[in-house]
Point group: C2
Chain length 352, copies 2
C-alpha cells in the first residue's frame, strides 16, 4: 500500500496561454479588449487598505445586492464565485450526485468533462449536428443533469430560447445548467425561465463583457431552493471565497450600465465587420453570438495559420482535436488589433 | 424522482460573525489587529488597472516565487489558494479518496468534518487528552489520511515536533496534513520534514500573521510529487484561483520581513501579558502558541461572559458545544483593545 493510492489522478483543463511577453495581440482567451468601467479604477485608488486585515463579508452581500438590483432578481436567488469556473465547479459538486450520467455536447466548453472526472460523475457527450447546432431532442433521455453553454463555445453559436425550454420541459427530474458566459454579446438569456423551472441554474461571468477577467468574478441565478443548496456546498468548501477587492470593484463594474453597453456594442460591431472581412478572405464560420469567431479557411490548415500568426505576435486559440483542428478561435480585439490581423492574413494568404 | 435527489445536502461550516457595525472590538475571528505591511498599501495605489481585463497568471508564479525565496523551498513544492480553507478543501478532495477513514482530533478546526462530509470521506474524530493535548499514539491505526492543526484550534496548544514526527513515522501509507495557520505565533514548524516525508503537506495562511484575511491567500508546502497532485486537482477545478490583487499584494506582504516579525512579536507580547492578567481574574487556559487565548473562568459560565462582552461591544468567540462551551476564544487585539476588555471583565466579575 502506498500514500499515493488514495489520490485523485486525472488530466486537468488546459487554459489558453497567458504569455508573459507584453507586445502581443492577444486574441486567445476571449478577454475584453477594453478596460473595466472607470468607476472601478476610481474605487481601486480609494480602497480602504486598513480593512484588508479583516475577513471579507462571507455572504458577498454588496456584490449580490448590486447584481440583484441590476437584473431584478432577489438576492437569495443569486450565487457568486471566483469566476464562472468556480460557480460551475461548485454546481457540479453540489448537483450531480445521483450516479446517473450527466449530458452535455461533445463540442463545448472543455472544462465540463474535467469537472465530471474530478468528482467521478459519469457523463455522456452528445454529438452536435453537422452545422454545430445543438438538437434539443438529444437531451430527452434519462440523465443525472444537463449542461448547455449558450451561446456555445468554441462554436460561437446560439440556440434559440425555445430549444432551452424544450430541454427544460424534458428534464424536470435533474438540474439543468445553462452557461451564459457569452450571453452579453448575443442571443436571448434563459434568466426569466428561473421563475418557471426550479431546477434551472443560469451561470454568468465578469471575465468577458465586464472586462474583469483579472478579478475572477462569476455569478449564477436560480430558484431560491437551488441557490440555497449551492450556498450550503459553498459554505462547506470555503466560507470566504470573494476577496475584498473583487467585492468592491465588482460592485463598481455593475453600477456603470452605460459603459457596459458601450463596450458590448463596440465588440459586437467589430465582430460583425471582421466576420465579413474574413469571409472575403476565404474563411467560413458559424454566425457568432459571442466575443469570438470560430473560423476555418477553405484552403490553408488552421494549425498553419495559428503558427504563422503566433510568429507575427498575433495569438489566437487552436484546439488540436478532431473537427476543432480545422478552426481557429479568434477573440474580438479592438478595431486596430483586428485590422492588423486582417492585414497580416491578407498578405499571408496572397503569398500561398 | 425529483431534481433534488442528486443534490448534496449537508450542514455547512459556520464562520465567526462578520458584523457590519464599525465600533466593535472584534476579537472573534483571529484576525490581525494591525494593518498589512506598508508596501501592500503602496502597491494598491500603483496597481495597473488596465490589466484587470486580462486573466491572472494561472500558475500564480510571482507569489509562489516570493514564498519560495522567503522559505527556501523550490517553487514546485509550493501550492497557493484562496485562503488556507481553499488549500485544505482542495487537499481533502485530492488526497482522501481511498474510502478509508481519515483521522483528526475531536476538538480542532471545525471545518475538517465539514469537508469530509462534503466529499463523502469517512472520518474518525479522536478525543484529545484531558489537558487538550494530542497523543501521537492515537494516530497509529489504519487510516486514509491524518489531519493535525498545530498549534491546534481553538485550544491554542502546540504539539512538539517530535509528536508530529511520531505521527509521520506511523503513517507512511496515507497523506498527513499539518495545518499551521497559527505557527507564526509559536511552536516549531514541520516545514523541514517535507524533505523526509513525501506524504506530508504543511498548510499556512496570510490571514493571521500577515494581516491579509481580506485578500484570501493560503499556501502549502510538500514534496514535488504531492504538490503536483494538488496542482492537477486545482487545475481541474478552477484554472485561475488567485486574482490579480491577491497575487500582487501578496508578494508585497512577503517582501517586508521586518514588519512581519514586528507584528508577530507585538501580538505574542500582548498575548502573554493578557494571559497573566486573565489568570489574575480567575481564568484558566492552556498555554497559547497562537494569536488567541482559550480561556475559562472558574466561576462565571463562558456563555454569560460572551453575552455580557457582546453587549459591551467586545466580540469574542463562543462555541455552543460540549466541553468547548466552558471556554471563550479571545483573539489578541491591540494592547489598547485588550486593556478595554480587561477593564470590563474586572468590573463585571467584581459585580458578581
Amino acid at each position: 500500500m502506498s500514500w499515493e493510492d488514495g489520490i485523485w489522478k486525472g488530466v486537468p483543463y488546459t487554459p489558453g496561454e497567458q504569455p508573459k511577453r507584453d507586445n502581443l495581440i492577444k486574441l486567445n482567451t476571449n478577454e475584453c479588449p477594453y478596460p473595466p468601467a472607470p468607476g472601478v479604477e476610481k474605487k481601486l485608488k480609494e480602497m480602504e487598505f486598513g480593512r484588508f486585515r479583516l475577513y471579507p463579508d462571507p455572504e458577498a452581500s454588496s456584490l449580490v445586492d448590486a447584481l440583484s438590483g441590476y437584473y431584478h432578481v432577489p438576492s437569495d436567488q443569486i450565487f457568486v464565485g471566483i469566476g464562472s469556473d468556480d460557480v460551475l465547479a461548485m454546481a457540479f459538486l453540489t448537483f450531480f450526485r445521483n450516479g446517473r450520467e450527466i449530458l452535455f455536447p461533445n463540442i463545448t466548453y472543455s472544462f465540463y468533462d474535467v469537472w465530471a472526472n474530478l468528482y467521478n460523475i459519469p457523463f455522456r457527450q452528445i454529438p452536435l449536428k453537422e452545422d454545430f447546432s445543438i438538437d434539443p431532442s438529444d437531451y430527452k433521455r434519462e440523465n443525472g443533469g444537463v449542461v448547455i453553454a449558450n451561446p456555445n463555445a468554441p462554436t460561437s453559436l446560439f440556440m434559440p430560447l425555445s430549444g432551452i425550454r424544450e430541454i427544460l420541459d424534458a428534464n424536470r427530474e435533474s438540474v439543468v445548467i445553462v452557461d451564459e458566459a457569452y450571453i452579453d454579446f448575443g442571443g436571448e438569456t434563459a434568466l426569466p425561465l428561473i421563475d418557471e423551472y426550479e431546477n434551472l441554474l443560469v451561470v454568468r461571468t465578469f471575465s468577458k463583457s465586464r472586462a474583469m477577467a483579472g478579478m475572477r468574478i462569476g455569478y449564477a441565478f436560480g430558484s431560491k431552493k437551488l441557490i440555497g443548496y449551492l450556498q450550503d456546498a459553498k459554505f462547506s468548501f470555503n466560507s470566504y471565497t470573494m476577496n475584498m477587492p473583487s467585492l468592491e470593484l465588482g460592485v463598481e463594474a455593475v453600477k456603470d450600465d452605460a459603459y457596459f453597453k458601450e463596450v458590448c456594442g463596440k465588440i459586437v460591431a467589430t465582430r460583425d465587420r471582421v466576420a465579413e472581412e474574413l469571409k472575403a478572405l476565404g474563411f467560413t464560420m458559424p454566425k457568432s453570438s459571442t466575443n469570438f469567431l470560430f473560423a476555418s479557411h477553405e484552403k490553408v490548415p488552421a494549425k498553419e495559420l495559428f503558427e504563422a500568426m503566433k510568429k507575427e505576435g498575433i495569438l489566437v486559440r487552436f484546439f488540436d482535436k478532431p473537427i476543432l483542428n480545422r478552426y481557429l478561435r479568434i477573440t474580438i480585439g479592438t478595431d486596430e488589433q483586428m485590422d492588423t490581423m486582417i492585414t497580416f492574413l491578407k498578405g499571408y494568404l496572397a503569398s500561398k
